[in-house]
């Protein structure tokens, strides 16, 4: 084996390990990404540590989406949205006494809807959300965000409620540019930079850079191991000094 082919083999192994490292960083960034809670019973403000969060349950998200969002087209204007919401309201909504508080029927309707969906096999919750309703009820803020479509986002035709920033973190496959390999972890959400760096009005909640820093040693270790393995399996007896910079 020539030195060039050995170098090629090692570089290929290192690039693959870099891709694995990017996935590690992606997972770390998703762990750190701040997610505004739209459900009652979850701590506010919700910055990190999502142990009590129920938004990981996709069936809950779909149920709420079906309950509130299906009649409304995301492209509709605000006035049309309002009209559609009003058209879909049940008769027990007392229009003479509207106030800022979420009506009680929302909870009843949602739970009833979830119950019917579960019994019909449309939804299979990971846990018994009917018997533990509090954590799956929308908070006042969450109800507003769902109604106003602010909490809705979609990927490849699937609509989700909440968790947009966390759901839109991706690791790209490593790209090779000459003798340089790069793997990017991106967060294309429009407000991601405001969360990462903060603004005059909002404190920063960095999620990409902490993930990269925390994973640095692990990524270096992965690349080092991949390179060593490639050098060993190639049958080469050459002594190789490896310098990894990330």
């Amino acid at each position: 084996m020539t030195l060039e082919s050995l170098a090629e083999l090692i570089f290929q192994a290192a690039t693959e390990a870099l891709g694995t490292g990017a996935k590690l960083v992606e997972a770390g960034a998703k762990r750190h990404a701040p997610v505004r809670s739209v459900f009652a019973g979850t701590p506010q403000p919700h910055i990190e540590g999502h142990e009590q969060e129920d938004e990981d349950d996709p069936s809950t998200r779909y149920a709420i989406y079906n309950d509130y969002m299906r009649p409304i087209n995301i492209g509709e204007t605000m006035s049309k949205r309002t009209a559609l919401v009003k058209a879909g309201r049940p008769p027990q909504w007392d229009t003479t006494s509207q106030n800022e508080h979420a009506p009680v029927w929302w909870r009843q309707r949602r739970l009833g809807h979830l119950q019917s969906m579960r019994s019909s096999g449309l939804v299979e919750p990971k846990r018994n959300i009917i018997d533990e309703p509090m954590k799956d009820m929308l908070s006042k803020r969450g109800a507003y965000e769902v109604r106003s479509m602010r909490a809705a986002w979609s990927t490849w035709g699937h609509v989700h409620i909440g968790g947009r920033l966390r759901g839109e973190i991706y690791s790209l496959s490593p790209s090779i540019n000459g003798h340089r390999a790069e793997a990017w972890v991106i967060s294309p959400t429009p407000y991601a930079k405001f969360q990462e760096f903060g603004t005059r009005h909002n404190v920063a909640h960095p999620f990409l850079r902490p993930a990269a820093e925390e994973s640095r040693e692990e990524v270096v270790g992965l690349i080092r191991a991949a390179v060593s393995e490639a050098a060993r399996t190639s049958g080469s007896k050459a002594a190789i000094e490896i310098v990894v910079r990330i």
């Binding site: 760096f197 005059r200 404190v203 920063a204 960095p206 820093e213 925390e214």
Partner: protein
């Protein structure tokens, strides 16, 4: 017992306050995370980004990263103060309690556009990320 990144924060603020030119330039003071709503411009905001620990046989190395921002009503002030911050912190020997400073340098400029504050004023946000390495005896 390992000390945390809190003494490093204090050391950064002390170092910034030790620069008379910088203190004279910032009317709104230095704040962590976010500044109060009604405060005079310009001012500085700093924030811990990440603080990974590395354990060696005999010591603990902290390598925190801090974002240090200037908020000002015009870009000239913002950039001038940012330069003052950089000169105060670049390769500075921070007096961190129970930790020896190994490195303090700016590792990135942070690109952001102008913003509108709660009173409708256009404000400029300029800053950078500083990487600091400290070492302390391990437990």
């Amino acid at each position: 017992m390992t000390t945390t990144s809190a003494p490093i924060k204090r050391a950064i603020v002390q170092k910034l306050r030790a620069s008379p030119a910088l203190v004279a330039a910032i009317a709104g003071g230095i704040h962590e995370g976010i500044a109060p709503r009604k405060i005079r411009y310009p001012f500085i905001v700093y924030q811990l980004v990440a603080a990974p620990y590395s354990y060696t046989w005999s010591s603990v190395i902290l390598s925190p990263m801090f974002d240090v921002w200037v908020y000002a009503e015009n870009p000239v002030d913002a950039n001038n103060i940012d330069a003052l911050i950089n000169s105060a912190l670049a390769e500075a020997a921070l007096g961190v309690e129970e930790q020896a400073t190994m490195l303090c340098r700016r590792v990135a400029d942070l690109p952001t556009g102008p913003d509108i504050d709660s009173e409708g004023k256009r404000i400029y946000q300029v800053g950078g990320t500083y990487s600091i390495w400290t070492e302390q005896p391990g437990s």
